[in-house]
């Protein structure tokens, strides 16, 4: 059974729409979680303002850097760096000590949802597609972004994987489980690393730049988890 997607769009391109929706979902979720954690409302609101600006800037900036200025577009890892940059900036501006940590944690919990929603846009637009594949649920793109052959639905796989990570992370976080944030961070980095193998852009590449960054993030997450466990153990 193949899935057929026509990439001739009537009014709004789905990619832009889904990127907008992903920012909206992430920003609203972060605001609610930040307020729940006791962050002042005005600080939480200014984070909403800074979040899309820094995320889009870093997302586009990383694509420019990694392509040597040859191509443009939003990089998900760059967007992630932008989200953390916004959280750290607001944490430093906030007059209350400890807000930085809280905002970094809520960002980590919401990032999988943002990525999950944005990947629906890629799936509908036909970008970031998977390797040539003719099995069950293979996708055939027609229209302006038509492809020569059917491909693996890697974007849909990413959407589902990150939605599961988000729901799991949110459940752990709301139950105030220890190390919930670190687990979300490590799972996200490892899932992104693994799913990148299924992309068409990965053919002929041993380890992509994105995978290198994900590995580095996973190592940071593991160190963070071990430190947190040590703190809990010592206390």
């Amino acid at each position: 059974m193949h899935i057929h997607i026509n990439t001739d769009f009537s009014l709004f391109p789905p990619y832009g729409l889904m990127i907008g929706l992903s920012f909206l979902a992430g920003a609203v979720g972060m605001y609610l979680l930040n307020i729940r954690r006791g962050i002042q409302k005005n600080v939480a609101r200014y984070l909403l303002l800074l979040l899309p600006l820094m995320s889009i800037f870093c997302g586009m900036g990383l694509t420019l850097i990694t392509s040597g200025g040859q191509s443009s577009g939003l990089s998900s890892v760059g967007g992630l760096i932008g989200v953390y940059a916004a959280a750290v900036t607001m944490g430093l501006i906030s007059p209350v000590k400890g807000d930085l940590r809280k905002m970094a944690e809520t960002s980590t919990v919401m990032l999988p949802l943002m990525y999950s929603v944005s990947k629906i846009g890629c799936f509908l637009a036909g970008c970031c597609h998977g390797f040539p594949y003719d099995g069950i649920l293979a996708v055939e793109y027609t229209g302006q972004n038509a492809l020569d052959s059917a491909v693996f639905p890697v974007q849909a796989a990413e959407t589902l994987t990150f939605l599961v990570i988000f729901l799991l992370g949110l459940r752990l976080y709301l139950k105030q489980k220890r190390c919930a944030v670190q687990i979300v961070f490590i799972l996200s980095a490892m899932a992104k690393f693994a799913l990148d193998f299924l992309r068409a852009s990965h053919i002929g590449v041993m380890i992509s730049v994105t995978q290198g960054l994900c590995l580095a993030l996973a190592v940071i997450g593991i160190v963070w988890l071990m430190q947190s466990k040590n703190v809990i153990h010592n206390s």
């Binding site: 769009f9 009537s10 009014l11 709004f12 391109p13 832009g16 002042q40 005005n42 600080v43 200014y46 303002l49 800074l50 600006l53 820094m54 800037f57 586009m60 900036g61 420019l64 200025g69 900036t89 607001m90 501006i93 906030s94 007059p95 209350v96 000590k97």
Partner: protein, 185 residues
């Protein structure tokens, strides 16, 4: 000496070489502390440096256990009615001017670079300057919430952002309709 400062009851008054300063008690809402210029220190206490006029008034009272500020018959500290001392206003205004320069002044340099064909540099410089301008505006709004320049700047930036989003959406719709109009030609 205990000072009830603009309704914030039970502030502890201390003196140092620069004059008097207050240490707020626990439990006072943060927005109220920020409104009257208290700042959060590393030791977890909110402090407020008093003006020379207020310091002199408190010193003149000697060992009186509880003092109310603003005192009846004594003029309130400059800017106290707006919750902003002249020093704070000066700092906030400086940050706002710097933000304006980054937002609009750097644009001219960026366009000059674009004319020279350095488009990537245009993106980096104007993007970084724009974000820095937003951050400075937010610093002013968080640390000096009563500053009027900061408020005006925030409104300008928000309108600019809204117009930018609308222009982007309009461009997207126009481009889509162009593609449809020209199809098959």
């Amino acid at each position: 000496m205990i000072v009830n400062y603009f309704g914030i009851m039970g502030c502890e008054c201390r003196f140092d070489a620069q004059g008097a300063f207050l240490a707020a008690p626990n439990g006072v809402p943060v927005p109220q502390l920020q409104q009257f210029g208290f700042y959060y220190a590393q030791d977890g206490i909110w402090y407020k440096r008093l003006s020379p006029q207020e310091s002199a008034y408190l010193q003149s009272l000697g060992n009186q256990p509880v003092v109310v500020l603003p005192a009846p018959g004594v003029g309130a500290a400059p800017g106290a009615e707006t919750g902003e001392t002249p020093e704070e206003k000066k700092t906030a205004d400086k940050l706002c001017v710097l933000s304006l320069i980054l937002m609009y002044g750097v644009t001219a340099v960026s366009y000059a670079m674009a004319n020279a064909g350095i488009t990537n540099a245009l993106y980096s410089v104007s993007g970084l300057a724009g974000i820095a301008a937003f951050i400075l505006m937010i610093v002013v709004r968080v640390k000096y919430p009563k500053n009027k320049f900061g408020k005006v700047l925030m409104i300008i930036y928000l309108i600019q952002l809204a117009l930018g989003i609308l222009a982007f959406l309009a461009l997207m719709i126009m481009c889509q309709s162009c593609i449809h109009d020209c199809r098959g030609m």
